[in-house]
Each structure stands twice: as C-alpha cells, then as structure tokens.
C-alpha cells in the first residue's frame, strides 16, 4: 500500500495499515481508540473512588485519623513531580509535532526521571508505613490508634496508591519504548500516534493523582 | 402433578401461587392476576399476529413482490404509548402493595430473627428462644427484626408473599398479619453456602390463646435426652446429621455412641465415648471423621452450656 507519509523513508518509517484510507484516517481512528481506552481507566479508578466516598462518609473520624498518619509533604512533592512530568510529556509531543525530535528525547527522559522520582518517594512512604505496621486489613499491626477499623483506611491507601503506582510503572515502561523508537527515528510530525497514546495515558495517571492527593493526604 | 393440579384447580389459589396467608397476599394475587392476563393477551396478540402473518404471507413464488413500508408514525406512537401506560399502571399498583408490605404498625409483635449458616433462631420479648420453628398469633401484626451472623440470608414466607434479605452487620425488617392458623414454610432464598437448601423453618400460626400458652412453655419436665432432641433441631444439627443412618454433610448419629474403630482422617481409630462427643461438639475441627469434609461444622465452644452439651450427648446415646 502507499504510505500516506511524505517524510523521509528509513527502515522504520511507519506505513499506514492496509485497511485505512490514508495516514490521517489511521491517526483519527487510533486516537479515538485511545480515548475509549482512557474512559475505561476513568471508570475503573472511579469505582474505587466511589467506594472511598461511601466508606469515608460512614467513618469520617477513622479516615481523618488515617490521613494524619500520612506525610502531606511527600504527597505534595509527588504532586509537583507528576505535574512537571505531565508537562514534559506534553512538551515531547509538541516537539515531535514541530520536528524537534532531539528535544523530544530530552523531554521523554525527563518524564521517565520524574516517574522514577515519584516511585522512589512512594517507596520511602511505603517503607515508613511498613515499619509502623500501618498495613491494609489483616496485616495491620500498628500500636496507638483509636479508630477500631483503621486498617480499612490503609486498605484504601494501598489499593489506590498501589493501582496508581502500577500505572506509573507501566507508563514508564511505555516511555522507554517510545524513547527507543524516537531515537530510531520512527516519529515525525505526520506520525506520532504512539507518543500521543502514551501521553494521554500519562496524563490520566496525573489526573488520578490530582484527586488522590487531597483525598488521601489533605482531607482524609 | 401437584403443581399442575394446583394450577388447574379453581378452589386452590389460582396461578400456582401458594395459599394466601394474609390479606395482602390476596391483593398481591389480584395484581398478579391482572398482569398475568394482560401478559396473556399481549402474548396472544404478538405471537398470534406472528403466526397469522407467517401463514398469510408465506412465500408463494420466488419472485413475490413485497410492500415497501418504511414506517408509520401513528402506529409506532401507539405501540410505544399503550405499553407505557400499562407499565405505569402496574408500576403504581405494585408500589402501593410494596408500601403496605413495608408498613409496620406500631403495636406489632416483635420477634428477633437471627440467621446463620444454616438455621434460623428466633427470640421473643419474653426471652424465649426457639430455632427453625416459631409461633405467631393469628390476626396480630408481627414484625420480624432480622440480622445475620455470617453471610447474607433471605427470609421468605411464600404464603405471605414477603421476603427480605438478612444482612450481617445491620437490621432488616419484615411485617405481616397472618389471617389463618396453620403451618407455613419459610425458605432462605439468598444463596448462603453448602446447606442453603436445608435452611428451612416452619412458622406456626396459632390462636392467641395457644400462643400465650406456648410462650409460657419451658423445658422443665423434660428428660435430658428430650432436651437434647430439641437442641438437635434448635441448634441446626439436623441440617448435617441424620438420625436414620443416611449420610448427610456430617456422619449420622444413629448408633454412633459406643461405636468401635471409628476412623478419623489420618488413620486414628477410636471408640465413640462421652469425651470424644464432647470434643467433637465443642471443638468440632479437632478430629475429622474419615471421608468427611473439614472445617464445615461451626465451633460450639462458648455457644452451648455444659448442661446443653450433656443433653445432646444423652440424646445421641438414646439413638441405638
């Protein structure tokens, strides 16, 4: 099939799949697919949030006590890190679109680094919780607490941040893949669908953290 | 053909419904009859129409011309609007009945119902406790206040046309006024594990005098073995242990006492004596009889008094 792609041909130049009319057709279709996938992410995390709201409504004191065990400084720091990473992710798309792939590489690297920093901070947070026995459910063995079912708060804490952290790790893995392809010269201003897709995924990760931060650390 | 007979016989409650235990059941049956007939008529129209069209417009030749009819707004409005009206009528009617079901008079006789795997316990205001068979007076509003110890159960009295899930950690309620004396089945309708289908109870509706007399009854004057027999059904041993030698979830009690070479999982053989029975009742999972499942029987330590254990063992001894 013809490539609807006027850019220079290298071995890795993207060829429009045979069942699409042209490159634009492929792009809009892929993008819609990505958006549909993002909807499922929202609904999946959303279910967890709904559960959180109902339980929070039932046990406000318990949740407040749980939140007091978290360090809001770490949460705030991680929020800043994720916002910056979201920005650099958006920039890497911007640079590929404007033909500056080397800058995009730097931005992708920064994004991965931010993800890594986020996970390191998360690691230290988790470590502190483990040391204090602030673990979910059956594993909870902290001393000095008042709410009888404080274990539930940490159940939520670990489920929500754990699922979110898994997404961060997946996102980082995808970005390493993007980085490799970008260095190989796969992307140009006409073809950057994978970058766009991973970008949207990464923004979802940011979006969820934007809500998790006040929910778990501030309001409690 | 009991079911079909019930369906055909005009004397019975029609439409295969159980007997009517309350006035509300009669109202229920009226609504059901209405919907049933409306359904029969709509089925007759649609299925009849289908068959009529299918036969009338059967293909004659391979070049039949068909009418090109794309739509008819008036007809389409009609067959959206008429069902909607019917649906709204039955919705409102059902709502009325539901409201009555969920209204509990202040002067109701309150009975606490406690569901657990796989039996029902009932506690009366007087402190009287019974299991799997409870008694209510006729013509008196009754309110059941229900909760569960373990998983969700559901309390269902078909003749009263009422049902309510019994949820652990909270109370739910059922209310009714029985109109006729007699025995009524109670089912558990929320799947609750192994013996879900044996989680039955009987509701005895008796006259007010009999009810008062029953309330005064107590265990005095019964032999130890007789008391054990009451506990056998009361503590739901009956769900898993037969008295006639048939194999249920657990071993039968028939001829159990004194049995020699009673083999356990792991090969241990012992003679069934008072100590073994006592341990098997109180710490049920300490020894498991060979080929029977472990961890099924609840632990009764702290649930039974010393005297009750004795009564049960005496009852087992009496089963030769």
């Amino acid at each position: 099939m013809s490539t609807g792609n006027p850019a220079a041909h290298s071995d890795h130049t993207h060829h429009t799949a045979h069942h699409f009319r042209d490159a634009d057709h492929e792009f809009v279709t892929s993008k819609e697919g990505i958006w549909l996938f993002m909807v499922t992410e929202i609904l999946m995390f959303g279910g967890l949030f709904v559960g959180y709201f109902f339980m929070h409504n039932r046990y406000p004191e318990m949740f407040a006590e749980g939140a007091s065990h978290l360090d809001w400084r770490m949460g705030a720091f991680n929020t800043v890190v994720l916002i910056l990473s979201s920005w650099t992710m958006a920039l890497s798309i911007h640079f590929i679109q404007t033909g500056r792939n080397d800058k995009a590489t730097k931005m992708l690297l920064t994004t991965i680094a931010c993800g890594a920093i986020f996970m390191v901070v998360k690691f230290f947070e988790y470590k502190a919780k483990f040391e204090h026995g602030l673990l979910p459910g059956h594993f909870f063995h902290a001393h000095e607490f008042t709410a009888p079912n404080l274990a539930m708060y940490f159940g939520f804490y670990f489920c929500m941040t754990g699922l979110h952290g898994t997404h961060v790790l997946i996102g980082m893995g995808l970005m390493v893949w993007l980085l490799k392809r970008n260095l190989r010269g796969d992307f140009n201003e006409h073809y950057y669908t994978p970058v766009e897709g991973v970008g949207l995924f990464w923004h979802i990760v940011d979006l969820i953290w934007i809500f998790l931060f006040p929910l778990l650390y501030l309001v409690g | 053909m009991n079911g079909l007979a019930a369906l055909m016989s005009p004397a019975q409650a029609s439409m295969a419904l159980p007997s009517q235990g309350t006035l509300l059941a009669a109202e229920f049956d009226n609504l059901y009859a209405f919907i049933l007939w409306a359904s029969v008529i709509s089925c007759a129209i649609t299925i009849g129409g289908m068959i009529y069209f299918a036969l009338k417009y059967k293909r004659r030749t391979n070049t039949d011309k068909t009418a090109y009819i794309t739509h008819n707004t008036f007809l389409e409005f009609l067959w959206s609007f008429i069902p909607l009206v019917i649906f709204m009528v039955v919705f409102g009617w059902g709502w009325m009945i539901y409201n009555k079901m969920r209204t509990f008079p202040d002067n109701s006789l309150e009975v606490h119902v406690y569901g657990h795997q796989w039996a029902w316990d009932f506690t009366y205001k007087s402190g009287k406790k019974v299991a799997n068979e409870f008694v209510v007076p006729v013509g008196t509003p009754v309110k059941l206040i229900m909760t569960s110890q373990d998983v969700i159960h559901s309390f269902y009295i078909p003749s009263m046309r009422i049902k309510q899930d019994v949820v652990p950690g909270r109370y739910s309620a059922l209310g009714f006024t029985a109109e006729k004396t007699g025995d009524y089945h109670v089912f558990c309708t929320q799947y609750c594990g192994l013996n879900h289908s044996s989680m039955l109870a009987v509701m005895k509706v008796v006259s007010k005098e009999d009810y008062e007399k029953w309330l005064q009854e107590n265990d005095e004057g019964l032999t130890l073995a007789q008391r054990g027999e009451k506990l056998y059904s009361g503590k739901s041993c009956v769900a898993c242990h037969s008295l006639d030698g048939t194999r249920k979830v657990g071993p039968s009690w028939k001829g159990l006492y004194g049995q020699k070479d009673h083999e356990m999982e792991g090969g241990l053989k012992l003679t069934v004596d008072d100590d073994y029975l006592r341990e098997s009742i109180l710490l049920s999972n300490a020894k498991i009889v060979k080929s029977y499942p472990a961890g099924v029987m609840p632990v009764f330590q702290g649930q039974l008094s010393e005297e009750e254990v004795n009564a049960l063992i005496e009852f087992i001894k009496s089963l030769k």
Partner: protein
C-alpha cells in the same frame, strides 16, 4: 460467483497462520470454536443440575458438588459463552463486511483480545482442578469472602475476560465510527451493526466497574480491606450495587446483538424492508443508555432503601418501552412480506415467541410489589432463561444458520437444521415453562434439595433439558456435515441485500476487491 480461487480460509495455510492472523473473519472463527467448546462445558453442567434435581434429595451427587456445578454453569455461560458469543463470533465476522470495511479498526488488538479471552478462560477452567468455587456466578459478599474455595483465581479470570470484552468493544466502536465505506452513513448501517454498536458502548462503559469490583474482592480476600465485609465495617449491599452496575448492562450486552440478528433474519426471509428502521436503531441505543440506571431491580429485597427500590422499579419500566417498540416493528415487518420458512427464520420465530414471554415476565419482576415474592425463586430463573437462551441463543443459532454459507461457502442440510430447531424449541419450553410455575409456588433458586411437592414439575423440566441437548447435538451434526460435504453455496443464497452478500462465499482475504460505494439503506427490497 462460485467459491473459486483465493478466500480467507485458504489464503494462508497451516495452524500457525491461524494463531497469528489479523483477519477479523478468522478471528471470528477462532472465537466460534472456543465459545462453542465452552458452551458444551456449560451445557454439560446444566444437564448435571437438571439431573440432580430429578429427586428432592441426592440423585447424582451431594450439595457440595451441586453448588460447584451450579456456579460453573453460571460463570461459564455468562462470562465465556453469552457475553462474548454474538459480538465476538458474528460481530467479528460481519461488522467490517456489513459496513464495507477491509477489517476492524485495530486488527492486532482484535487478535490480542482473543488471546486475553483464552487466558482468562483457561484460568477459569483451571480452578476446576483446584478448590472448585461455589459462590454462584454473582460472587456475593460476604459469602465469597468466607468460602474456602478458589474465588481469587476465578475473579481474576473474570477480570481478564472482562478486559477482552473491553478491547473488543472499543475496537468495534472505533470501527463503526471510522471505518464505514463511502456512502455508508450511520443510518444506512444494517441493524445488526446497530446492535453490536450499542453492545460495544455497554462493554466499554460497564465492564471497567466490574473489573475494579472483582479486584476489590481479590483484595478483600488477600488483604482484608473491608469495603464489602460487614465484619470489618464494610457494606455488602454496596458490593451488589457495584456488581449490578456492570451485570445489569451485561444482560443487554447479551441481548442487543441478538436483536440485531433478528432484524437481519426477518427482513431477509420476508424479503421486505424493515419497518421503522430508525426506531429500531435508536431503541438499541435507548436500551443501552437506560440499562445503566435500572440495576437496582436486582436488589429489591436486598436491604437497599425503599425509596431507591421504588425509583429503580419506575426506571425499569422505561426499558420495556423500546423493547416493545422493537417487538412490534418486527411484527409489522412480516406484514405483507414474502415469508420463507428456512431454518434461520424458524429460529427468528422461536426468538419472537420466547422473547415475548421473557419480556412480559420481566415486567412482572420489575413491579416491585410482585418481585418481593418472585425474587430469587425459579420464576426468575425461568424469566432470564427465556431471555438469555430463548432470546440470545435462539438468535445465535439463527445467525449461525444464516451466515454459515457465507462463512464456509457451503450449504447445510435444511431438514436436520429444522429438526434441531424443533427439538431445541420444544425442549426449551418443556424445561423452563414449569419453572415459572415452580417459582410462583415459591421454590427458591440455587436449591440442591426441595420440597417433595415440587418434584413432578422438576422432572418435567429435567426431561426438557434432554430434549434441548438432543437438539444441540443435531445442530452439531448438521454443522459438521455441512463442513464435510455441504453443497457449494452461492454468493447470495437468501437473496438478502446487505453488503456481505455482494462478495463471494467464503469472502476473499481483503473482503472487498473494490471498495463498495453505498447509495441506499440495507433493506432495499423493492
């Protein structure tokens, strides 16, 4: 236009070419083989259930085994047969053909979703060799948290199969939006596509919530978080909300594509344009939308608040209207048609017959005052089998017979196909009609033992299940015979008007040698 030369079946050779294929038609066939295998498993479980219920006590096995068989019957039939059934088999095969596309939007994703589905399915089946699960397919808490069986493996299996369902759904939505041939406007799409499209929307919007719910069950069991566990301060009724938020729309995931098939069958075998195309198309979307806020009718006696129950009862009535519209429009399509009694059409008649009964009993159950009595009795069992088996399975069978010539380029034996219909249809009614009576008499569902008074009706029902089994065996024979020695099928054996009949049977690898340009609707029988 005989089937000569290259087609999608012989375009590539060898087993490996099937496992790496990106062709939507081949993937459809792979789904067909897997789903039919699972259908056989679920069917055997059904026969075992009915066999055990021959007597009130122990007939074939004890309560432990009964509860497991009942659970696997439900889980297999729901997650592995009916939900993937029509969309993944016929949807995959037909959607691109129907809209004049070369393939679905994301062929690789399509293959991936088959692998994901099979992974989940094997995990589900593998629990049979461990601690067999006994919760019922609904996984109600707290029982599913207390039982010692393989709940975690099973919920992960269902989670994985849910992911597959999501991927299929989003693929189909993008396909419908973006891959239509020139001139194929939304309102020129066949109604089967509308059914699949509405289904896909449900798959994408509802399944993620099931995903998180199942993950939470796993978390409850592994960690003891306590959201759904009353012993830890959770709310088991909240679980039911989460569960039915998915599982009620899932009912429409099962039935909407079936309704699409019926529209195709009725027009083709009446050789007449569909009555009220727009009404049927939009009623699919309407049903899909409304299905998201009626789930509470599964919970009328669960202990949810009475206000919620009444509102859910009211909203449920609204689903009845678009369903009634479809029903009457199909009838009106028959009017002044030229009706041919080929076996697919017999299945369509069977569908209409059974679906009306399933529908009106659905209304009975939606009336809150009546449901209090019928809830969790055999009445409910009978109702949803009338809709799921009498509806979905009838349509699936009709669809199979309708498109078999297109799929394999061979005609089947009409006599055997009709005989199979007779057995399935009669057997179905013999099996499930008595269950309405049992239900009104008060026999609860999921009962291993029952009152002796219920025995005769149960025995009638069991005999019916054997008739159904014979019917499906005849169908199996018919299909095998068709594949082995069927006469070659012409491109358009039925004289139908949708696009798939304009290309040879079986279709070539790329579907359309020349991209079709659509100038009219799908049912232009003038």
């Amino acid at each position: 236009m005989a089937a000569h030369g290259s087609n999608y079946i012989n375009a590539e050779k060898g087993l490996a070419s099937w496992f790496t294929t990106l062709d939507h038609k081949r993937i459809g066939l792979m789904y067909m083989i897997s789903v039919l295998t699972f259908f056989l498993c679920g069917g055997i479980a059904a026969l075992l259930i009915r066999g055990e219920l021959w007597t009130p006590g122990n007939t074939l096995f004890d309560a432990t085994v009964y509860n497991q068989v009942m659970t696997y019957h439900g889980a297999i039939m729901v997650f592995m047969v009916i939900i993937p059934g029509i969309p993944a088999i016929l949807g995959n095969f037909l959607l691109p053909l129907h809209i004049g596309a070369k393939d679905v939007a994301f062929p690789r994703l399509n293959l991936a979703s088959w692998y994901v589905f099979m992974t989940g399915a094997f995990l589900a089946i593998s629990t049979l060799f461990t601690n067999k699960i006994d919760t019922g397919w609904t996984f109600y808490t707290p029982y599913s948290l207390k039982t010692s069986t393989a709940v975690v493996s099973m919920v992960f299996a269902a989670f994985i199969m849910g992911m597959s369902s999501i991927l299929t759904g989003l693929n189909f939505i993008a396909t419908v939006h973006k891959m239509r041939a020139p001139g194929m406007t939304m309102l020129r799409m066949p109604l089967f596509v509308w059914g699949i499209y509405s289904t896909a929307i449900l798959q994408v919007l509802a399944t993620p919530v099931l995903g998180i719910t199942l993950l939470l069950i796993a978390a409850e069991r592994l960690l003891g978080v306590g959201i759904f566990d009353p012993a830890l301060g959770g709310d088991p009724v909240l679980f039911q909300h989460f569960f039915w938020f998915y599982s009620h729309p899932a009912v429409y995931i099962m039935i909407l594509p079936a309704m699409g098939i019926i529209s195709e069958l009725i027009t083709a075998f009446s050789r007449k344009t569909i009555f009220g195309y727009t009404a049927i198309a939009f009623s699919s979307l309407g049903i899909a939308a409304v299905s998201f806020f009626v789930w509470g009718h599964h919970m009328f006696v669960s202990g949810q608040s009475e206000v919620a129950g009444i509102i859910f009862s009211f909203l449920t009535m609204l689903v009845g209207v678009p369903t009634a519209i479809k029903m009457f429009n199909w009838l009106a399509t028959l009017y002044k048609g030229s009706i041919q009694f080929r076996s697919p059409m017999l299945y369509a008649f069977g569908f209409l017959f059974l679906f009306v009964i399933g529908g009106v009993t659905g209304i009975m159950l939606a009336v809150i005052g009546l449901d209090v009595h019928f809830h969790d009795t055999y009445f409910v069992i009978a109702h949803f089998h009338y809709v799921m088996v009498g509806g979905t399975l009838m349509a699936l069978m009709g669809g199979f017979y309708y498109w078999l010539p297109k799929m394999f380029g061979k005609m089947y034996n009409e006599f055997w196909a009709r005989l199979s219909f007779v057995f399935i249809f009669v057997g179905f009614n013999v099996t499930f009609f008595p269950q309405f009576i049992l239900g009104s008499m008060g026999m609860p569902r999921r009962y291993y033992g029952y009152l002796p008074a219920y025995q005769s009706l149960n025995q009638i029902s069991t005999v019916g299940s054997w008739l159904i089994a014979i019917g499906f065996l005849i169908s199996l024979y018919t299909i095998i015979q068709c594949l082995m020695s069927g006469a070659p099928a012409p491109a358009n054996p039925w004289g139908a008007k949708t696009l798939e009949w304009t290309i040879p049977s079986p279709p070539p690898h790329d579907n359309f040698d020349v991209e079709p340009i659509v100038t009219a609707g799908p049912y232009e029988y003038r």
